[in-house]
Every structure is written in structure tokens, then in C-alpha cells.
Symmetry: C2
Subunit: 394 residues, 2 copies
């Protein structure tokens, strides 16, 4: 038996694991200290009341013979696929219910989806980026083209027609930079992908944070996307599902390459290698898409948006340049005083117990930047902002 040799090409330590180890070591050395966690993008507020009610209902159904649910349809419960398709209609995106696939969340899906692609693909990653994009592809033996986002392109790189790729990852609103593509910009990417026969993996995990009504929430708002895009969505940030787990993926029936229909392939993949998503979780997820659910999750998001304002005010006072924080839940700041990103990580951890994420962890071009998540506890965020202000204004 031969192990997958490509695993030798991924670095041993994964960014967030590395941060977890560093914070763990700090806490072991300083057991009395409280940490202000704005590193990993984990949420801090409980689930919305109508989601909780629906989850309880789901559990109760599993307690009675009359309402008990066994194996769920592998691609998702009809009631949830329908609710999600209807949700897209609000922004003028018409989907067949069975173009919606219910998932365990975006992370799981980003890895699993690669299974319907050949193993020697060329993959374009716009960096800085969520590190799993690169690692999941290295583990399959794919070749990575790194495209840099930076000040010169407003953190929104555009297609370079001299480059060819098989798969293109686009995350908008972006993790970690907070940059958001306009419809006109996404149209250029869609046209480029259609022209070169590439498939776009559109990571829409942060769409609920968009405030500007002109910015697209979905790549399927763009003409031509139905022949080149797969949209990977998450309830983790929209509705606080990081530890509850449920997401969804949009894969249009019109997506074909080399005579093979990717929708049919994904159905085959799901029906062979999964047995569907928990009925209980799908009940909870469906509540998010009710009118009341939408109102309640908007309230959660408003709390995080206020966190962003608190942090941005501190950075404004310090004269530190930053991006994001408005249409996105992340603040991407330039490291002050010429520090590199792991140095400021260590400084903030050791001096003021604030945990952020070093930009370098999102790719080499992220060096010189630092990411704050706005998903922290509001009181903690206030304390952290004050501590940052006190430390860096010295």
C-alpha cells in the first residue's frame, strides 16, 4: 500500500493550529490571564431563538415513531433545498431546488468537491487566502498559481489573460482582506473562466456581511456564471453555525466540461460517499431562511458589525491603515512600526493578551498585514480595542 505522497508537500503545521498551540503555551505559562480572542474567525453569540426552537423540534421528531427521520436524501432535505432556492430569488437568482446541495459546511465541501475534478489540475488562488484552499489542493497533487492581492490592485486582482487555470478560487467578501468584488469585476472573472474553460469556486461564506446594496452576494447574480461557477456557502458566519455545522453549495445543472456534467457527477459523489446531513441540523438551518430567522440573524450580524466599528475607531485613532470591516467581518491592517506579522502576533499576545491572525499565514503576500476577526464577544472587543490603543500609542 502506498500513502498519498502529496501529503509530503504540505507544511506540517496549519495556521490556526499553530496559533492554537502558541496561545495554549501562553496560557500554560500564565494561567491567570484572560485572552481576548480575535484570531480564528469563530463566533461568540448563541444561535438565534428561532433556530434553537427548530433544533429542539428536530430533536423531538427523532423521539417519536410517527415523526422519526431515518436516512435523509444525500443531496439535502427537500424542505431546505426549497427554502434556500427561494432565498436566492430575493436577489433575482433563479435556481432549481436540486441545484442546491446541503452540506456539513464550507470546509468539508471545499475538500470534497475536488473529487469530481481530475487530479493534475492547475489551480489559481488569489492570495492572501484561507490556507485550506492551498493545502487541500496540494494534498491532491494539484499545481498552484499564486496571484497576489495587495495595495496595487485594491486587494482585488483581476484576470490576466496570459494565465491559464483549471480551477479559480474567489472569496468575496474576502477572508482575510475584507475586499469585495463589484458585479462588473466578477463579470470579468466569469467571462475569463468561460473563455478558458475554468471552473470558479466562489466562496460566499461572508455574503451576509455586505451592506452596500450594489455589491453582489452570489456569483450567480452575474450573467454567464451558470456555465462556470460553483458557489460554496456557509451558515457559520451568517447564523453562528461554526459549532453546529450546516452549509450549502450551489452547483448549476448547466455546468459541463469535456462533455461531462458536473452536477450529475456531484450527485453521484454525494449518493455514493455520504448519507446526507442530520435531519436535526437541516431543521435548524431551514429556520435561518424564514422571515423571522432572517430578522434574528441580522441582529447577530449587527452586533459583530458594531465590534468592527469599535476596532476601526481604535485603528483610526492610532493612524493605522486598514481594509475591510464594512462589508466583511474581518479587518485587515498594516502592521505598525515596520513589524512583521508574527512579531505583532507575539507582541499582542504577550503584552495585552489579544489574539489576532498574522497575515503571513494567508500566503507570503500577506506578510506585513494582520487580521482581526470581529466575531468576538462585544465586551472583550471593547477591552481589546482599548488595550491595542494603549499599547501602540506608547
Amino acid at each position: 500500500m502506498k500513502p498519498n505522497q502529496h501529503y509530503q508537500n504540505v507544511k506540517d503545521s496549519y495556521l490556526f493550529y499553530h496559533i492554537a498551540q502558541k496561545t495554549k503555551a501562553y496560557l500554560e505559562a500564565h494561567p491567570d490571564q484572560k485572552l481576548y480572542r480575535m484570531g480564528i474567525g469563530d463566533v461568540s453569540l448563541p444561535l438565534a431563538p428561532c433556530v434553537i426552537a427548530a433544533l429542539h423540534e428536530g430533536v423531538e421528531d427523532q423521539a417519536t415513531k410517527a415523526n422519526f427521520h431515518g436516512y435523509m436524501p444525500e443531496c439535502g432535505a427537500a424542505f431546505l433545498r426549497k427554502a434556500i432556492a427561494k432565498h436566492y430569488q430575493k436577489r433575482g437568482v433563479m435556481l432549481n431546488d436540486d441545484e442546491v446541495f446541503v452540506s456539513s459546511g464550507a470546509s468539508d465541501e471545499l475538500g470534497d468537491l475536488l473529487g469530481i475534478f481530475d487530479t493534475n489540475q492547475t489551480v489559481m488562488i488569489l492570495e492572501p487566502a484561507y490556507p485550506a484552499y492551498v493545502d487541500a489542493n496540494l494534498m491532491r497533487g494539484n499545481t498552484i498559481i499564486h496571484r497576489n492581492a495587495g495595495l496595487d490592485n485594491g486587494f482585488l486582482p483581476m484576470p490576466d489573460r496570459s494565465q491559464k487555470a483549471d480551477i479559480i478560487y474567489i472569496c468575496s467578501p474576502n477572508n482575510p482582506t475584507g475586499a469585495v468584488y463589484s458585479a462588473a469585476q466578477l463579470k470579468e472573472w466569469v467571462d475569463y473562466a468561460n473563455d478558458i474553460g475554468a471552473v470558479i469556486f466562489f466562496d460566499a461564506a461572508y455574503e451576509a456581511f455586505i451592506e452596500d446594496p450594489d455589491l453582489p452576494h452570489s456569483i450567480f447574480e452575474i450573467e454567464g456564471a451558470r456555465t462556470c461557477a460553483i458557489e460554496i456557502c456557509s451558515l457559520s458566519k451568517t447564523a453562528g453555525f461554526t459549532g453546529t455545522r450546516c452549509g450549502y453549495t450551489i452547483l448549476p445543472k448547466t455546468l459541463e466540461r469535456e462533455g461531462m456534467n458536473l452536477h450529475a457527477m456531484w450527485v453521484r459523489n454525494r449518493t455514493t460517499t455520504t448519507n446526507g446531513i442530520s435531519y436535526i441540523l437541516q431543521k435548524g438551518a431551514a429556520a435561518v431562511f424564514s422571515d423571522e430567522g432572517q430578522r434574528q440573524v441580522a441582529e447577530l450580524i449587527a452586533v459583530y458589525k458594531n465590534n468592527a466599528k469599535v476596532l476601526m475607531a481604535a485603528l483610526d485613532q492610532l493612524g493605522i491603515r486598514y481594509f475591510g470591516g464594512v462589508n466583511a467581518p474581518y479587518i485587515w491592517l498594516q502592521c505598525p512600526n515596520g513589524m512583521d506579522s508574527w512579531s505583532i502576533f507575539d507582541l499582542l499576545l504577550n503584552e495585552i493578551q489579544v489574539v489576532g491572525t498574522p497575515g503571513e499565514g494567508f500566503g507570503p503576500c500577506g506578510e506585513g498585514y494582520f487580521r482581526f476577526s470581529t466575531f468576538g464577544d462585544p465586551e472583550d472587543t471593547k477591552v481589546a480595542a482599548q488595550r491595542i490603543l494603549d499599547l501602540l500609542s506608547k
Copy 2:
């Protein structure tokens, strides 16, 4: 972009999907008929009370800021890994807690685990077998060696030293035949795998149905397994989790091939391509391993074992030869009157509205056999048994 060409090697229609289509067509033509479903191995009894209580608690924790759980550890919650490791101790199997990986269930895991293996592996499948074993491997481009189980080997094929394989699938108690390997027989497989450098995927989904105290529940009861085996376990049949979803996999730290540690590779896989299993579901799963949980799931299993007795009594009266039904939840019978397995499927569906599974669906050597699941409703099972008796004694 190039789709995964290996998908062209899997048949379009998947066994259980095909059965679902046939039963759907029947119900559309006969809307007033009730079906007696003993085809797909789906459970019919609600979850045990202590599991329901734990699931409600899990939901309630997600409703309060103090108890809220965000991202779970990717390889499983410490409390559940510990509970499962302790459960193994009862049978003398000593595991480190972090050799237990919590999963969404066995189906998901059987597909995902192949990711840590090279893509051109030779895979031995003991047939008849769960069809996804073959399909998941074909989809990765692996080569299949089919080993036939049948009357000549008591449905328990033993290693043939002239054959080499990289991965060997063993399901014991077996789906669909109900045959169970003894410890001595498994020892032969373990020695063979260690000798040829193969890895055994041991599917233990039905271990809770073993009654004979001498039969092994886990391959790790066998000396030598820690250097050649991965055990894939499920709560679907043990505790009725088919629609609730949670399982676990045992992958020992001592499993290495070609200088690469498969445990470390699987940790890397999980931490890169998943964000862990729902806190709520893990709370429910942990309740299964409590003393009260074990008592309550044993009661559920006793109901299904009684279904087996009802069906076996009917087959005995008809003089139809069958296997399983004692240490396994499936009954594997010889098709009567020289019928082939899809013909008896159609006969039972059309004449007496009883749904079983044609043996041919589990591989060519399953032709001439038919599988009944004992997971149906007890009253339905009684009616079905009587109808079978009436129809086939004509």
C-alpha cells in the same frame, strides 16, 4: 478544466437509488397501497430517551452565551473520544483517546479515508458487499480485485497468499450476508495484511448485533491489527442514527506505510478539509456510551432481533435456506423457485408490497440471493412475514 474521468467507470444508477425509483413508480401507479419496507437498511425506531435528552441539552447549550460551542476540534470532541476509547476497554482493546476520530458516519468516512492513499491502489473487495466500497474506489481510479463469498466458503473468504492488494475491505458482521468472522479467521487476515503491507478497512457498523460472546466486535481485538487496520464504525444501526448522523473511526498511531504515518496524515486531512462534527450531535452520541445509553440501545436492538426471528420463522416454514439474522441485522436468503434476485424483488413488490434488496446489487456473486433488513417496523415485519408465507407457499 478536466473532470475526473474515472466517474465514467461507475454505473449510472446506484443500487438503493434504483430500488427507490422502482418503489416510487409502484406507489405512483398504486397510490392506495402501503409498502412493507425491508430493503434499504434504515431503522424505524426513534432514538433512545437518554440520547434525546442529551441532544436537547446540546441544543440548549447553543442557546446561551455561557455554554455556547463554536468550532469543535476537527478530529472530535475530547469528551466523546474519551467515552469511545473507554467503551473499547470493555472488550480489552486499549486505545489512546486521539486514536478515535469522530465522523459524520461510516459512509462519509469510507470515501474520505481514501484521500490519504495513493490514487492507483489495488483494492480487494469481498463480495457480495455494500456497493459504495466498489464505487468510491472506481471514482478514484483504483483497481478492484473481487473475491467471492459463497456457500463454498460459508460467506467468509480467507486470504489467498497468491493475491496482493493495497487495501482490503472486511465487513463483519457482514452486510449483506450476515456472516461473522471468528477471531482466528480475522487473525489470518491481519497476518496476511501485515505480511503484504496492505491496510484493512474494517467496517464494524453492525458489531452491536453480535450475540455470540466469542465473536470479535473490533479488529483491534486481534493481535497485529494496530499495524494494519483502520476500523470504521457507525451509530446508525447501533443507536438508530441513520438520519441523525454521527460515527467514529479508529486509526492507530502505529499504522505506517513507506515511512509515512497514516494517523498523522489523517489528522492533517481532518484539520484541513473539515471543521469538526456538530457539538449537538456529539453530545447525543456520547449519551450512547453511558451505562444508561448502552442499556437503552440494547432494547432497540432487541426489537430488531425479534423482527429477525419473525422473518426467519416464515422462511423456516417455507423451507427457504438463509444466512444471518442471528449475529447480524440482515437475512440473506436463497431465491426460491430458481428465480433471479431482481425477479423476486419485482414479485414481492408487485404481489405483496414487500420491499427487499436483490442480491445482485451487492456484486455478481450475490445473484440468486435476496436480502431482508430487520430494521423495519415490528408490526409491518409481522405482516410482511405472513404475506411472504402466503405468497410463496402457494
